[in-house]
């Protein structure tokens, strides 16, 4: 299963066989040092900001009670449905000097009211964090739901105050989930191109594009991509290190409504304000900006073609979601039952694809596939067979999003103790039947989470879709790209809204299902 990813990685690494010193020398002198610093800074800051938002809001909405808690508990997941590049251009559209929100503030409140420049490091961190924190929030929320209150009580029984219990018991217990979420966030940040491009912020990814499209050196682009891989490997190792200490915790007590900590009024207002601000900037503001753009062009935008894009996006995401989740399940089970070096390594490799910029990954995959087609052509098959088929598309998605599906499934699988397996086998239920009757029902929250994450991610995905889609097959993301890259945000707003809407459906289903299962 890790074969396609390995192929792509080998493709990237073979670039070192041929070094263009002129290009690479220039990049190392003028571009890469700054890009590396920028990338590091961005990854670290986004990881910190997303963790902060996620932990605080997850804690407030699962363990505490305040007015609006029930609403925020699911509403705070919604920004996940907004693609990073859409978030970026919508936020910029609202918050830049000439943007709608800032203009409104200037005109209606005070002409001297100027928001901090959105085209800044802070702006990039803000945009990325707002789209990415829900990944961590989802996981941490799960952790707190299953052990939050209980861990507090353990702490209190040992003579700690609520605050001390949070810091010394609950937070350390939730750490594997925080780290797991942050890992996804960091990989997304490393691979991101769309968001940083809107802010004209230089990272390793933009350097890849610079050497490819600007300096016409695809080799150097791949060489920088392998530098990016190094980052990823470091991040993965850090995660493995922290995972080492993870223990199975029995999820017996879920937080019941009556046992929540009722916040005193002052703190309740603060909690409400915190969640409200995040929800406003992360969801209301960008959606409002998109609506502002879309409404005047509504009649123009709602063509048959538009509905076809929507259907294409939706069915493609469903299909990819199904296949990738099945792959991830198989991979997780293989890793669990084999527990060999081989299995562990294939897991490691299969999940690396998430951090490669989609374009590099797509090109890396295209080469071996074209080679297969060339080979088949020799036997008289009408070429190309694989290229431009939906198979390649799905394969590329699997490589890219395996980590997204794998992480929640693996986390849930930790709950299935070895004795559960043994119990099932001693009752003469083994193999696939055990998988279906025992494992699958036990990890269905994880599977559900995986499915939703993949669905939303595929729906937002751009570079792979662009390169591998069959002729005439278009998605909303492609449409958004085409329009927004020409600066036509007004027209891009409608498909952007559609992506958010279609992406919301599974997110809402996830929340409802997961909460039901928890109870």
């Amino acid at each position: 299963m890790s074969l396609p990813t390995t192929l792509a990685l080998v493709g990237v690494l073979t670039a070192w066989l041929d070094i263009d010193l002129l290009v690479l020398g220039h990049l190392f002198e003028f571009v890469i040092p700054n890009a590396v610093l920028n990338t590091l800074g961005l990854v670290v800051c986004v990881a910190i900001v997303t963790s902060l938002i996620a932990v605080i809001s997850a804690w407030l909405t699962t363990v505490c009670d305040f007015p609006g808690r029930a609403f925020f508990s699911w509403a705070l997941i919604l920004p996940m449905a907004i693609p990073g590049y859409v978030m970026a251009f919508a936020l910029v559209g609202a918050l830049e000097y000439t943007g709608s929100f800032q203009t409104y503030l200037r005109e209606s409140i005070s002409s001297s009211l100027i928001l901090p420049d959105i085209y800044s490091f802070g702006g990039v961190v803000l945009a990325l964090s707002l789209t990415l924190y829900p990944y961590t929030y989802l996981l941490v929320r799960n952790a707190f739901q299953t052990q939050g209150k209980q861990s507090l009580e353990v702490g209190q029984s040992l003579g700690l105050s609520v605050r001390q219990s949070f810091w010394r018991v609950s937070l350390p217990q939730a750490r594997p989930w925080i780290v797991g979420g942050s890992l996804l966030v960091m990989m997304e940040t490393l691979a991101d191109f769309g968001t940083v491009a809107v802010f004209n912020y230089d990272t390793l990814t933009t350097t890849i594009y610079k050497s490819w499209f600007g300096l016409f050196s695809f080799q150097s682009a791949l060489q920088i991509a392998s530098l990016l891989l190094l980052f990823v490997i470091v991040v993965s190792l850090l995660e493995a290190q922290s995972r080492h200490k993870q223990r199975f915790t029995n999820a017996r007590n879920t937080v019941q409504a009556r046992s929540r900590i009722l916040l005193p009024s002052k703190q309740a207002y603060l909690a409400c304000a915190f969640c409200g601000v995040i929800f406003f900037i992360g969801f209301m503001l960008p959606i409002g900006q998109l609506l502002l753009w879309a409404i005047p062009h509504l009649s123009l935008g709602l063509t048959d073609q538009f509905w076809r894009y929507m259907l294409g996006s939706f069915s493609l995401s469903l299909l990819a979601m199904t296949i990738i989740t099945v792959f991830a399940l198989l991979l997780a089970f293989a890793a669990r039952t084999q527990n060999s070096y081989l299995a562990n390594w294939s897991v490691k490799i299969s999940t690396l694809g998430y951090a490669l910029p989609g374009t590099v990954l797509a090109v890396g995959l295209l080469a071996p596939i074209a080679a297969i087609d060339h080979y088949l052509a020799r036997f008289g098959f009408a070429a190309p067979i694989l290229q431009g088929s939906i198979v390649v598309m799905l394969l590329a998605y699997s490589v890219r999003f395996m980590a997204v599906a794998f992480s929640p499934i693996e986390n849930n699988l930790l709950r299935v103790t070895p004795s559960i397996d043994a119990a099932s086998r001693s009752l003469s239920v083994s193999g696939l039947s055990m998988l279906w009757r025992v494992h699958f029902p036990m990890i269905r929250v994880g599977v559900l989470t995986a499915m939703v994450l993949v669905f939303v991610d595929v729906m937002k995905e751009l570079p792979i879709t662009l390169m591998t889609r069959p002729f005439g097959f278009n998605t909303l993301a492609v449409r958004i790209y085409e329009l927004s890259s020409e600066g036509l945000w007004q027209r891009a707003a409608l498909p952007a809204l559609a992506i958010v809407l279609v992406g919301l459906i599974p997110v809402v289903i996830l929340i409802l299902r997961a909460d039901k299962v928890q109870q």
Binding site: E96, T206, L215, S315, L318, L319, Q387, E482, L483
Partner: protein, 357 residues
């Protein structure tokens, strides 16, 4: 019980996917059938186009071509560099016949990578001006745009403006807006500066621009114009069609275009660039591809192709969109566009050296 629920929801899921894909496919087929109904020439295979020019700018043109000739056109869009890499990888098996891309730099790169074959068309040679075509006949321009100066009509007197280089003068201190150096249009512009005045002088010019910047480089041309309109800066450099789009939407904006470098000097003029196309070396259908190219060079097609994007036609007597012609005539830089490709890496490095983000 729960297992049954799961089974049911899985079944439902599968049904939805199949239904969705079927619907998506049949919808596509409807279009195909419709176009095939109009197809008089049953023997012709569809022409396959890879394009970095966006769908909404090429689809109406292809539709008209199909209507007139009965030949269908299939196409996919992506970034130019990606398409070129894809064509290289696909090699002999490529389904594509034609690459349409924007910017002479990209066209030159594609030519240098050996993915084109000679166009060999008397029609093209006759109608399209030579400096908008490849010297080796590997590609031809299809539409023309100028990259020129835009200024605030409220705060700038046109008399203060003269040349691209002039934007580096101290009077523009804190008044200039530029788009990011990552955009190929700026890379081509700087490449042309290098071609005109040599690398040392060009570097001084660009460094002087950077010193004059009012805000950090923007992610696109429209933002440059919005910033000028909002008073963040007073002058900038943009492609004409971006100005055209903004002007069409909002005619009252206090912005105007200025044609720089109009002196009598021989190798000077407004920097122009093209969108263009070349026939792929491994095209299965080069004759049809040539037919499409020649059709695109007809007056009627040019009016549509250039007009859709508020660009200039590449043929000498082509009709210019009224909004575009209202900006006035200008002297183009006579430098061959193929220079843009040769000097683009030098331009990128130059901009890196002066910290043009």
């Amino acid at each position: 019980m729960r297992t049954n629920q799961l089974k049911a929801s899985l079944r439902y899921l599968l049904a939805t996917i199949v239904a969705g894909l079927l619907a998506a496919c049949t919808a596509d087929q409807d279009v195909e059938e419709a176009t095939q109904a109009a197809n008089t020439d049953h023997l012709s295979e569809p022409i396959v186009v890879y394009s970095s020019r966006k769908q909404h700018l090429i689809e109406p043109v292809f539709e008209q071509f199909t209507q007139q000739t009965g030949i269908t056109v299939e196409y996919t869009t992506d970034k130019a560099g990606v398409l070129i890499e894809r064509i290289k990888i696909e090699g002999q098996n490529t389904p594509a016949d034609l690459l349409i891309t924007v910017d002479a730099g990209n066209l030159g790169y594609a030519a240098a990578e050996g993915i084109f074959q000679a166009i060999n068309s008397a029609v093209i040679n006759e109608t399209v001006a030579p400096h908008l075509r490849d010297e080796q006949d590997l590609w031809t321009g299809l539409s023309l745009r100028a990259r020129t100066i835009v200024y605030s009509t409220e705060r700038v007197k046109p008399d203060d403006l003269s040349t691209y280089q002039g934007l580096g003068e101290s009077q523009w201190q804190g008044r200039l807006c530029l788009r990011t150096s990552k955009k190929v249009y700026n890379q081509s512009l700087v490449a042309m500066l290098i071609a005109e005045q040599g690398e040392v002088k060009a570097e001084q010019t660009v460094a002087a621009w950077i010193a004059n910047l009012a805000i950090s480089p923007t992610s696109n041309d429209t933002k440059v114009m919005q910033a000028i309109a909002a008073g963040q800066c007073d002058v900038g450099i943009v492609n004409t069609y971006y100005f055209g789009r903004l002007e069409a939407k909002n005619p009252d904006l206090p912005l105007a275009l200025f044609w720089p470098n109009q002196s009598e000097a021989e190798n000077s003029g407004v920097h122009v660039n093209v969108s263009g196309a070349g026939i792929l070396k491994y095209s299965n259908n080069p004759d049809q591809a040539r037919r499409l190219l020649e059709w695109l060079a007809t007056e009627q097609a040019q009016a549509l192709f250039a007009g859709l994007n508020k660009e200039y036609p590449v043929i000498s007597h082509g009709a210019i969109d009224p909004q575009v012609s209202a900006w006035g005539a200008f002297k183009q830089s006579p430098l061959a566009l193929s220079k843009a490709f040769q000097l683009q890496p030098a331009a990128v490095k130059l901009m890196d050296r002066v910290s043009y983000k």
